[in-house]
Symmetry: D3
Subunit: 308 residues, 6 copies
């Protein structure tokens, strides 16, 4: 039996049976979620928001509208006290085919470009590279945990995107590809920067970057890019929503401070990270959530936490 | 056959047969070890000290006395030239149930608290967060390698503790739990800061942090949190002491300078780490241990190193 | 079936069949490669250079000449526009036995040494530690990807060397050993500094460092030090050259900027790494390779890239 | 003669006489500048924009509208190719009295606050501290040099603001005050973070922070917070505009890349800063400005640079 | 008139007349201060503690007892809620002659030393270098501002000590000397590490380090090492106590958070420092001191702050 | 009296009269110094080497030969045990006119350039920017203190050069100019990276960078770029050699370890710098220089130190 299966089966044992989730169910409390052209939002469970990449006819290729809407969407969810955890998924046959080359071509190969390489460089930096990077980074900066559920193809910009998420799940039919060198580029919106830090296999990462070869869900889970693999898309979405719902049932103070400090620790020394953590918790230990949670533990009851 | 078994069986092949250890044996040279209320010290082999969490009736829950005694104990072992490696284990049915909530409650929920949130924050920082962090960090700062042998339950503060050790072993009955969000907290004494840096699976780490679900020894070894798993506690302790004894037979200069530089490298760039290493070794290459060790290699004899 | 086999078989699926490589073939375009005493250079494929450690009678032990020639060789290859990727391998029965103790003994144990420990320390730092570190680091600093193909023994300094390479492959007969503590030393030319950052299993790394025990190719691939294992040396070399040839067929701008940024990202925060990446690409997006590669993709033709 | 006078008189010698500026003159090319409630924009010279704090009846106290408009204004100027340098000044009797306490009181002391200290902390962080910090930081992040011309009072938040500017000038009647401890606060939007890095007198800085005492223009210039002092407001504005106009006559590529790299160098090591600089200039050395400027130098003519 | 005099006279203008201090007066509320062999403590004003180096017969040379007692003393003052600011001064003719060579000789030149340079290095590090560094660093880590009042000689270790203080004042008869190279040493307990960061004149600093020449109070104030100079010791002590008393009258929350963040900012980027500051203040803005201080400002009354 | 004069006169008082130097005298022990095309080396005093920029007919403009020879020269002096301190000066009427534009033009404006902006960028980086940066940085990396004596003009690349020296002196006729923006460039070989860190007046530094205006020796000493100013070139050289000779009389271990740690401290936190310092001194405290120097102090005799 492969490592993938072992991990997958093990985790099932531990999730409490009380978390019963139908991926299609609608949460009781419905508040209006914002609407977008390239993204579709829904709330499959209380406090859980599912964000779906929604250009299935273009295999969810990432165009300028998408990059802009991602920033708007995650800024809104970051502030929305009805959202405690997020599932990110793709509509249609694939998670995403990556950068929409037709859409980007006008930026990259326009004849109206600045003829001066210096001015053109500033143009690329400010109107292309920086906004696209921010679009991916907004997922990481969002305080609410983001579980990405990947199926079908996850190519190029798709890898940049999933490496900025907190938890990565996929269906067994998924294939991945760090496509950038095949279009003459170094991956510049997150893959080279985040991927080596979220897995522990630099040798394989560099092979995948330099060769641009495809890799399967089995290889993805073996390299720990993905933590669980599921037989098909419905099982994947169900599991992702279930996990999101479990997270949403916890103290939002505890969960969000944990995400903020995990992000911080990745980029700082252990000593600095401990000091930062203490600076957060000298306040958060005064939060009502601590008492509620401890009481819940002692009385074997599920605590209800106020909105944050 | 699972990856766990493969790793476990492989490593047996390589340990030299000459290292025969009975976990119960007492080292020839006995010097008085300090005594503590919550810790029990013994010397199962020459130059090896075993530190046992010793409140089995409370499942070795971590109380204020424990946090203070850990600092005293590891400061003493750090200076003790009869100690070259340390085995950390738990007495009774479990390694540790984590923070002793009854003990901490007086700090966290006392009615005598400062009513001013600013003053209360200073109070928590100085009398609670900082000393508890130091208690865990003293294991990392100790120059002697620390092998932790985990069995039964390893919950909450137990995870903080084992991530500060050098080598993690467990028995197959062990379960682990990053419990903090379930008591309304972000893990603030080491787990969020160290765990992602000692394994290579950010996706799984974040799931375990945000959901607080239990995970088994199989999952722990698959995620590389633990490097070897043993059938039961006696086999675990025997293996830990054997490994500690092997380490204790090496040049203490070489071993301690290695630990100091492994700690340093985790928190610095490769170039800085190489410079720091060179600064240490421009002196340590003048140590007598180098010559003794090289002679030992050439003459196929086991060298004897002076105390350090 | 072990994880090793799974990974190994998976990757075969994905390499495009059009890459047909005979490890013995000679590239069409032959330009004179430099000659060395301890290294042997050849070009098995267009744009691929194979560097072979070539003191087989001494099991490729690393002597002063080797350390100097490595710097010269990789400086030359870094500038050579006919070299786009590098395979590093060892002639004879083993990759390398590590530091040549006979050769180093004159530096380490000479009776002509400075008697003043302060002056001796400066001597060691400048004439021994720094140049040896640079010799290993020059592999990392070289812009062209370096695939190391390890067989037989890879001991001591050999580990320092392979951790500075981009991609690590081995044959199933290989054994590895972080030997340094056995000669009374902390590993000072790269292992302690790089190894924990390229795999994700700190517990095992520290065991291997402190015990100096040997480990097999199976354990090496399970811990992700090595990304693929092959049945024997010919299969290993063939696979390494094939992979190098595939990389050499890509845009050299894309590949080299990728390596530079992967190196940078390892040592910086994600935000700093994204900014650095954008600073590179605001120029590189103006390169002709981008257009050539995109056209190639659209027209299903293999693009030809100019020398870099 | 005081150091202030010496510096002031010296600098006059060096400014080329060809730069004749009337502070009141209007630039030939007028393009519509955006309008704000708390800021007033004008263009006293070609490519120079003067931003004036414009609530003189409230001594330009900084309210929520001001903090928001600063972000909008500097984002617009950052993109405006007709703006190459910026003069920041205050209308009326003073530069600024600092934070508008009446305006902030509703945020700080509202009875509608969250009663949970944890939730209240999140509220302060996201709706108060972070936006106010960004408002000041946007001056630093703007690529165009910002010369601040200070007169009258510069208190509290005013110090935070001027430390984020590039060049600080004042009139002799100015007094300064790091006011925050007098309202029970640590200066949290820039003073504690930037002031010690832009002057070289930690002892005096800490006295001024801990005592909140006022200090005069003479002391400000002696401590190098301000680089030139002028007899009165008209002379100050004239000098600031003249300096801004001189800067606006230079290559915008050269000036903006210089500011970006000065900012970067403050926060990085010299080696990192050199590498970053080289990464910028490997592109910028291809800009037409280099050739234009060199030709101008050789032909003793003033070059005209394209918009950026 | 020299810059020294200007600065000195200016600052007098700004201190509110209401702060009337007799350096000899005793504070109303007397609580028992700890007693030491090498240090003498008193409380010249409410909430102000004066720590005097007290081995005048040895010109306050720094011996092992002194280094140990400094750590004990500043740990105690750090916790003492009756201490809000500290004046550090020297009894007798001089502030300090620096390291007590007679006392240190036994550590440095003992014949009982380890003969192995490696073991001797560990000995020096742990029993000499680290504790002496901590002794100086404890002044910096203390949350309460430390004003050092220097007179007579301030030599060698004295420079290390004053660079760890917050505010440096001296009498006009003072001379300074970075003495270390004259005893064959690099200054290893703070001068090389802190001095260049608290003044802005690297050229002069390096001259003073490499030549070990003496420099006067005039040069010290011109280089901004010292912020004010006074005619004699009584005037110096009076001014130091007055300044300390003024600081002690402010909100202790505001003052201590300011010191903590000034220390942090010195060692971090501006962006990191702003984030850390916001993390502190999201709690401290909830402190009662803010409201008390603002009310005091509005009502022109001096607020009374609770102990911290 | 200006601050310049005060500083200048003060320092004379403190230099011991026993250091009598005639700038023209030749050191007793003459060993062959290497010869260069653009540099002229001599030894005016024992252990002191004077390096003179020696293209007076081109006002010591910096050409490719100069940049290469600087690296060779300082590498040689770094190893030369007869060299303990270095005086850097310029032959003829000026220190240097900066970059030799005629020489650089072939690199910058050649018609043979790569037409691909990506390949051209690599070309500039590797053949122009990196080697020129290294040429300046080699002065900083040299372990021996470098005193630069500036007269006449110090323009453009000259500023880059002097900021990499340890101690800066000038004659009163000197003028300085950060010339780069006037040739369409950001200063890329050291000025933007080092200048703000060696003085404490960011406002003035940015003005000088953005305006490229000239500034005089008076302004240079007032801003602490230069620590002493002398009436003319002979007095300047005499003072520089005298200071170099005094430094050369000290323990070379103490001086070089001091320089190495001053460089390190500039780029690291105080805590990191203290740790690094302790790591050096745990070895250097075992050097014979310590005992010799202490004995010299006690016996009022000048110690003689062995070569290093």
């Amino acid at each position: 039996m492969s490592a993938t299966r072992i991990l997958s089966s093990l985790s099932k044992v531990f999730y409490p049976a009380s978390i019963r989730v139908s991926a299609m169910s609608t949460a009781g409390e419905t508040n209006a979620l914002p609407e977008y052209e390239t993204l579709s939002l829904s709330s499959p469970q209380e406090y859980v928001v599912q964000v779906e990449l929604n250009r299935p006819e273009r295999r969810n290729a990432m165009n300028k509208t998408f990059f802009r809407e991602m920033i708007e969407c995650f800024a809104a969810l970051n502030k929305d006290s009805n959202c405690r955890s997020i599932v990110l998924s793709g509509a249609g046959k694939s998670f995403t085919a990556g950068l929409d080359l037709n859409d980007a071509a006008s930026d990259l190969f326009s004849s109206e470009h600045q003829s001066d390489p210096g001015r053109q460089a500033f143009n690329f930096r400010e109107n292309f590279l920086m906004p696209y990077q921010q679009s991916i980074t907004c997922v990481e900066k969002c305080k609410k945990p983001v579980i990405v559920a990947v199926h079908g193809a996850c190519v190029g910009g798709g890898i940049d995107l999933i490496t900025a998420c907190d938890i990565r799940l996929c269906s067994s039919d998924t294939f991945f590809q760090i496509k950038e060198v095949d279009i003459g580029l170094a991956a510049d919106i997150g893959t080279l920067q985040r991927l080596p830090k979220i897995v522990g296999c630099e040798s394989l990462v560099r092979e995948l970057v330099f060769t641009a070869r495809k890799f399967s869900s089995e290889e993805a889970v073996a390299m720990k890019l993905v933590s669980h693999v599921y037989p098909d898309r419905p099982a994947l979405i169900e599991a992702a929503v279930k996990m999101a719902s479990l997270i949403a049932s916890k103290s939002p103070v505890a969960v969000q401070v944990s995400k903020i400090n995990l992000n911080y620790s990745r980029d700082h020394t252990v000593d600095e990270s401990l000091d930062y953590m203490a600076t957060w918790n000298m306040c958060m230990l005064q939060s009502e959530d601590l008492l509620k949670a401890v009481q819940g533990q002692l009385q074997k009851e599920t605590p209800k936490f106020s909105k944050l």
